[in-house]
Assembly symmetry: C2
Homo-oligomer: 315 residues x 2
Amino acid sequence: MFTQIQAAQNRLSGYANRTPVMSSRTLNQQVGAEIYFKCENFQRVGAYKFRGAFNAMSQLTPTQKSRGVIAYSSGNHAQAVALVGRLLNIDATIVMPANAPKIKRRATAAYGATIVSYDPHEPQGREAIASDLQAEYGYTLIPPFDHPDIIAGQGTAAQELFSEIGHLDALLAPCGGGGLLSGSAICAKAMDPACRVIGIEPKAADDATRSFRTQTLQRVTNPLTIADGVRTPSLGQITFPLVLDYVDDMQTVTEQAIMDAVTFFFYRMKLVVEPSGALGLAALLSRAVSPSGRIGVIISGGNIDAETLAQILDS
Amino acid sequence: MFTQIQAAQNRLSGYANRTPVMSSRTLNQQVGAEIYFKCENFQRVGAYKFRGAFNAMSQLTPTQKSRGVIAYSSGNHAQAVALVGRLLNIDATIVMPANAPKIKRRATAAYGATIVSYDPHEPQGREAIASDLQAEYGYTLIPPFDHPDIIAGQGTAAQELFSEIGHLDALLAPCGGGGLLSGSAICAKAMDPACRVIGIEPKAADDATRSFRTQTLQRVTNPLTIADGVRTPSLGQITFPLVLDYVDDMQTVTEQAIMDAVTFFFYRMKLVVEPSGALGLAALLSRAVSPSGRIGVIISGGNIDAETLAQILDS
């Protein structure tokens, strides 16, 4: 699997941003460890999702490319597929929940994708719409996480982090569908086997943590978390076994801890980070994970509305 | 003068952050130039002011250090003097306008400085208070800009930018009292003489631009600009001749352009930038400066209240 991450890195070269690694003296003193943030909020489209989408779409056949692609997504994956579509001249159709953050909707449309809305409270709404459109137009589905090329692409963020920083005692990554987490874990076990990989979820959407502990796939339905990027109902058929095999632990954080982390990023580090992207820092600040030594944290994205941010900073 | 910047760089080593240089593909396409942002919002205390304060205070005599320092400032200089005081074990007293942004007030107090408030509508209020306290306690005044050690310290940001990026066709820096601008210009003329250095001011606080054009020192009183970091009444006795000698041009930007720039930083670059820090980008986006080639822009700071940011993003 790691060779697929290396191949993805070569494909992404010149297209994806090699995002910076940042740290905070204040934070390091506060938690008593050296924290290295891999800043995927500075990735193209403002999230790591560009990596997986580009890795998957750049490998389509000429026929698949000419027919176009379809994706369903709560937001960042949609933007990624839309931008990659524009870069590679592939028509993109995005099936999006009607309540997706405005900023993500607007950006997706701005990249020239066609948006089809669905009611998020309608069970299986998005898959049904997507498969109807696939059948009608011959689109190729670009899944948000449960695909080897997506997982390999997402793993390139951790690869860059280890290449730049060297050994880490632990690596924290947010977990929604498990694409970023499993890609990061595969990378860690190949590049730095002693590094503990820990997935972080909101308590309000703890399906992956329960799946990990029970070794049986668990689900959540429309979880009430501010972290819109990880509202995914469950791990996937591919990511679940990868998480069991490669991830060392899973931990959950409260909504308050997530908001405290977004606030810390804003005021202390001058970084715009969306709630899902702040899960790792939330785990450190709330001591859900007690760090020592050198800790890597993946900031998954920075696409947050002004209203959501104002609400968090006021809280 | 440039040797003083080099000496300042050596003093700052290990204390100041070597801040990253960032860019945006979207922006480069939009303006048709390569823009390199020197991100002093990532400097300690969230602004370049740490550089000058550290350079000045680290050179005090043991007696001066034991008596303590005093500063008057609308904000970032205050935080810088307070933090440097803590780092070097020097008591700091800060004379601050009663209407200074809450975030700056709170941070200054958190670094352990003593805060003395004054009414900003009272003419010469702050200088009088400061000189009374100086006379009474023997404090050394750390001026916000009009001092060779402060200017040399501020010039180190540009030094790092040229060292990292090489030749620039132009360098844009915000202008309040002219410490950052003159330090940057001295550095540019030594390291990259062909680089045009352009100071940027709010139209509503255009005293330095008028001073530059008329070659006579001009003033503004309590200017109505959102850019609180550059509300300084005029250039100083030291910075004014330096600006005349070393700076190539001055340009002004509207309040709307400043707000548009803060918004671009937030949504497109995921950077928290205060209004004064966004002056350079405001000049590019509004075409107050028409860029071509390689353009350096100093982001002076990122200390912005949630309320001010929300107001800007809503506008």
